[in-house]
């Protein structure tokens, strides 16, 4: 029994790494999503083209290929990344590309009259975006961002393949040390699911708080 608790400790350590990766990846993804999502609705062709290229490139290949590329090929270009850096970079850029489309869609979903109201109030493009469009668009983005965050959480399992000691990696360690298969993999699956439930609960709470005071206004 003491043995099991030791192995459970190992798995919980892995859970911490997974959580850390998810948080850091989400922050990067959020930044990229807003940069690229707003870039896609930019007035300037160059910015639109750059944003589209970024999005198509990262959505066109899987996170796994991107991670291996970042970890194995970039060192030859003189850029050596630790597994954690490569993981956060690949996860953030990949999920950021998906979330950028969400940002774009939400911005476009805000009604024409809101844009006209901005013009009528003599707000500049940036002011209108900041004070009128984004606060409304944010609420539309939120549920899909929650799904993206769960996708990111699930994608973190891939970093175990570049020897980062996350949940999946620790499950493999326990398997090879004990020869037991059901215990490590089932407990890891349950932990992932619990984390996913926490994310969706958190997003729902956030959504309710942000919708407060908007009653009666279009959501």
């Amino acid at each position: 029994m003491t043995q099991w608790s030791g192995y459970l400790g190992l798995i919980l350590q892995g859970a911490l790494v997974t959580i850390e990766l998810t948080l850091m990846g989400s922050v990067l993804a959020l930044i990229m999503a807003f940069l690229a999502g707003m870039g896609r609705v930019s007035r300037f062709f160059i910015i639109r083209a750059l944003a589209t290229t970024y999005i198509e490139f990262f959505r066109g290949t899987s996170i796994f290929v991107q991670l291996f590329w970042a970890y194995f090929v970039l060192p030859f270009a003189g850029l050596s990344l630790t597994p954690l850096q490569a993981g956060v970079l690949a996860l953030g850029l990949n999920v950021g590309a998906y979330a950028a489309e969400v940002v774009r869609g939400a911005i476009l979903s805000v009604g024409r009259e809101q844009y006209e109201a901005c013009t009528a109030l003599n707000l500049g493009r940036w002011q209108g975006m900041r004070h009128v469009i984004l606060p409304q668009a944010l609420l539309v983005m939120l549920p899909t961002f929650g799904n993206n965050a769960i996708e990111l959480l699930k994608a973190t399992s891939v970093v175990s393949l570049i020897s980062l000691a996350d949940l999946t990696f620790q499950a493999q360690v326990v398997r090879s040390q004990t020869g037991s298969t059901l215990m490590p993999f089932l407990s890891v699956l349950v932990i992932y699911f619990a984390l996913a439930l926490i994310i969706s609960w958190g997003i729902r709470t956030l959504e309710r708080r942000m919708a407060r005071g908007l009653d009666g206004v279009r959501v």
Binding site: E56, F57, R59, G60, T61, S62, F64, V65, Q66, F68, W69, F72, V73, F76, I150, L153, K154, A155, T156, S157, V158, S160, L161, L167, T168, A171, Q172, R175, T181, L182, F185, L186, V188, L189, Y192, F193, A196, L197
Partner: protein, 219 residues
Amino acid sequence: MEWDWNFVWEIMPTLIQGVKITILATVLGSVLAAIVGLGIALARRSENRIVARSVGWFAEFIRGTPLLVQLYFIFYVLPDIGILLPPLVAGVIGLGLHYGTYTAEVYRAGIDNVPRGQWEAAKACNLGGRHTWTHIILPQAIPPMIPALANYFIAMFKETPLLSAITVLELMNQAKSVANTYYRYIEPMTLVGAFFLVISLCSVVLLRWLEHRYGRIER
């Protein structure tokens, strides 16, 4: 290190071997996902509350946990209870099951979109349960779903590199073994990335066409 075209031609036959397995896994996985998804969608509409609930939770669990861990689970745990699967079969089952839970949502939306009047008309024509499904509901529900289903199949295609983790010799695994043999990562990894990128850019065109062909809902 420089890009070497001679090396590219040298490794091409090996990579093409991998491409064949990648495509095979995608096709088989898609067929399985289409069937599993329909099964889950129908089970969730079952009259029997217990069946509907437990299938719903099972699908939710699969969707909230990483495909990689599920593949490990199938590959390592099942042999312990006497089910020995070849890697490719384990991989196809993993892909089919995981994406089946996604396609189930597509089926659900498609079935819900069939107007109530059609159900009532089927009843009025004295059709039994099975005939209602096969002759009335599914023929109307499936065409509008095709673009969304294709979208998931393309997503699945991009996830096939994960099968390399359970020793399936698909494209990514071949690229890795080539890279490890010659200790040249740039060409194999970049070629894998380029291959997936090209296919998914082509699939964007295919998706547009499918949406044009089937996406319209005729009322």
